[in-house]
Symmetry: C2
Subunit: 232 residues, 2 copies
């Protein structure tokens, strides 16, 4: 198993440095995961660099580690953005979690016409962001995904639609820096929304013949795109 | 949106027949989904045939529908079997749900060396089976997946292993009637289990560079295989 990943604001520039974890990350490492002196961990800046470290001291809520080798990855291009219809219950968070594991780069929470759940304050957005951060740690991702504010403007590339004839597995992939995939809420995407996406240049696509839940559709589509783009 | 699917033991052989739903399916249709006279529904036998129907009468817990056109699909070949390590909490059921949506044909619950959860009676297996049935209905699948008893013998084709060099996206797919993919529990697959699978002829494979949760790994791998096998 890979050692656990913890996030720091910045990794020190010199190769053989010591890093101190405190705050929530220190609490997670020292008190929850209960790392001990001599154990390995990963430290990441969430912006492409991961370093291997060894725990040199632990106390309640705090931990220090010596850094060993580090490695940086460029941000993947094209970036994969998912516009995720807001879903009721924990379906939205499940979608964010699984999509983060398989490599989504940006998530745009979208209040669709058929979104049953309403976001009345900042808490649901904060939960999506915390879920994405935890899932990125769990997945040992060098780059943290971004969860944008609700309903930021976007230019859709593909829209998942169970009635579409075109398949995501064979559709032409454009040469762009960002592929934007729209996933509807639990009630699906309304006809007027589909028409508006199409007139903005999006292609309606489907996966197989099954009707997928909103918490499954994004992760399945990202898996297909990851293969087609050579990420996997 | 596709009309909702309900399951019957057998569809009547004649083309323009009437079907009566009672028991749990009738309750689901009449009392939970509250279908009304004139609305469309799908009726399936879970063994490859779906028929479109129109509700002709509804009463508490019961519903009748006239059948219109029906369509049958052969069982997909190669069949996709996932040996799913038993996971704690609701992660196992989430895996069963999402894998059923994307088309798994058989699920084998596997008590792995690192499975933290223990199945002490028949209830967890019954929950997996109920979850698979509900997910197949939600996905409008013509074929219901099978959830076998715990630890039935299997011959592994591929084993998901984050340390593997071979990628599932490019590995040679054998010409077989059944591809059996092993997904470990939350703690991963123990070295002696990996060795035993390899000596049984399995190939260790990975998806991308991320570490996937047990509830995400199967659905991501099935998505990749569905594209490669031409299902999607």
């Amino acid at each position: 198993m890979s050692p656990p990943l913890f996030l720091v604001d910045a990794l020190p520039p010199d190769e053989s440095a010591t890093v101190r974890l405190d705050g929530p990350e220190g609490h997670h490492a020292a008190d929850v995961q209960r790392l001990r002196v001599g154990e390995q961990l990963l430290l990441g800046d969430g912006r492409g660099t991961l370093a291997t470290g060894t725990v040199t001291s632990v106390s309640r809520g705090t931990l220090t580690a010596s850094l060993e080798d580090r490695r940086s990855w460029p941000a993947p291009r094209p970036a994969l953005t998912v516009v995720q219809g807001i879903a009721k219950g924990d379906r939205g968070e499940l979608a964010v979690q699984a999509m983060t594991e398989v490599g989504v780069d940006t998530i745009v929470p979208w209040v669709a016409a058929r979104s049953v759940a309403k976001w009345r304050d900042e808490r649901p957005l904060a939960r999506w962001r915390a879920t994405a951060r935890e899932a990125a740690k769990q997945a040992r991702r060098p780059w943290l995904p971004t969860v944008t504010p609700v309903d930021v403007p976007f230019k859709p590339t593909f829209v998942l639609d169970e009635a579409a004839q075109t398949r995501l597995s064979t559709v032409d992939l454009p040469s762009v820096d960002e592929i934007v995939l729209v996933v509807g809420p639990e009630g699906g995407i309304a006809p007027e929304e589909l028409a508006s996406f199409e007139s903005a240049g999006a292609v309606l696509v489907r996966l197989g013949d099954s009707v997928l839940r909103t918490s499954t559709a994004g992760v399945a589509a990202l898996s297909v795109l990851s293969v087609r783009l050579g990420r996997w």
